[in-house]
């Protein structure tokens, strides 16, 4: 499991490879908080290569979304597979995030 960062104009895209769970959520949180501290206000997390997400992983996404909102920024998500999308629907977190079916749609009008 790992996180890879790429840039698209003023958006930082974080690719999740593997699970987002209790044992690596802090790594993702610190990576994005460092980007925010450096001035980034638009973050897109791409789950195309992700596995499952546990409650700790969901919690860190909520926390980061709030942090970015405090800075007048936004956290968006993209490429959730059916299992992940249903997890977001079950927890109603699909109402908190703008979720793109593809990375391009996630970047649309960002």
């Amino acid at each position: 499991m790992s996180f890879r960062t790429v840039r698209h104009q003023d958006v930082v895209i974080v690719e999740v490879d593997g699970q987002l769970i209790v044992s690596n959520r802090q790594e993702l949180k610190q990576l994005i908080l460092d980007e925010v501290a450096a001035g980034t206000r638009k973050v897109l997390i791409d789950f195309a290569r992700a596995g499952y997400i546990d409650s700790s992983g969901l919690g860190v996404l909520v926390s980061l979304a709030k942090r970015l909102r405090e800075e007048d920024g936004e956290l968006r998500l993209a490429n959730l597979n059916d299992d992940l999308r249903s997890l977001f629907e079950l927890t109603k977190l699909d109402t908190l995030f703008r979720i793109g079916d593809t990375r391009e749609r996630g970047l649309d009008q960002f």
Partner: protein, 140 residues
């Protein structure tokens, strides 16, 4: 191919993913459906292990978490035992999706454990003491 698994791990969340991978591999081998393998089983078992480590054993690395799993083509039964006093399973009934709670960072673990299993039971381990959570997932 039916399977059984018994493991003990220190109270450290770094051990969770390996245990979950072993259980998922057994489930895959006996033909569990993709959604159970990709989401329900790994998430529910992860939540049970996190509860045992964080709340049962209070992150005390000197304490262990014991895992017993029985897997066949019909069902998975996992028991996760810690050395603590247990936790209130009724907290699982607290809805984390309400407007007041939806932006909370915590509070979804027990909710997901219930949502992704057919049964969650909690009892005291008569021999070793401690708290046991038993998860049952049926294939049908």
């Amino acid at each position: 191919m039916d399977g059984a698994l018994e493991r003990s791990i220190p109270s450290d969340v770094q051990y969770i993913e390996g245990i979950v991978a072993e259980i998922v591999a057994h489930c895959t081998a006996v033909g569990f459906p993709p959604r159970l393998i990709a989401r329900n089983v790994p998430v529910a078992v992860t939540e049970a292990l996190v509860n045992a480590i964080r709340y049962g054993n209070a992150d005390d690395s000197a304490k262990v978490v014991r895992i017993r799993a029985r897997i066949d083509r019909h069902s998975l039964v996992v028991e996760v035992a810690d050395e603590g006093e247990g936790f209130d399973l009724q907290l699982a009934l607290r809805d984390p999706t309400t407007p007041e709670r939806i932006e909370a960072e915590d509070g979804r673990g027990l909710f997901l454990m219930h949502a992704f299993t057919d049964r969650v039971e909690q009892f005291r381990d008569g021999d070793a003491g401690g708290n046991v959570v038993r998860l049952t997932v049926h294939c049908a």
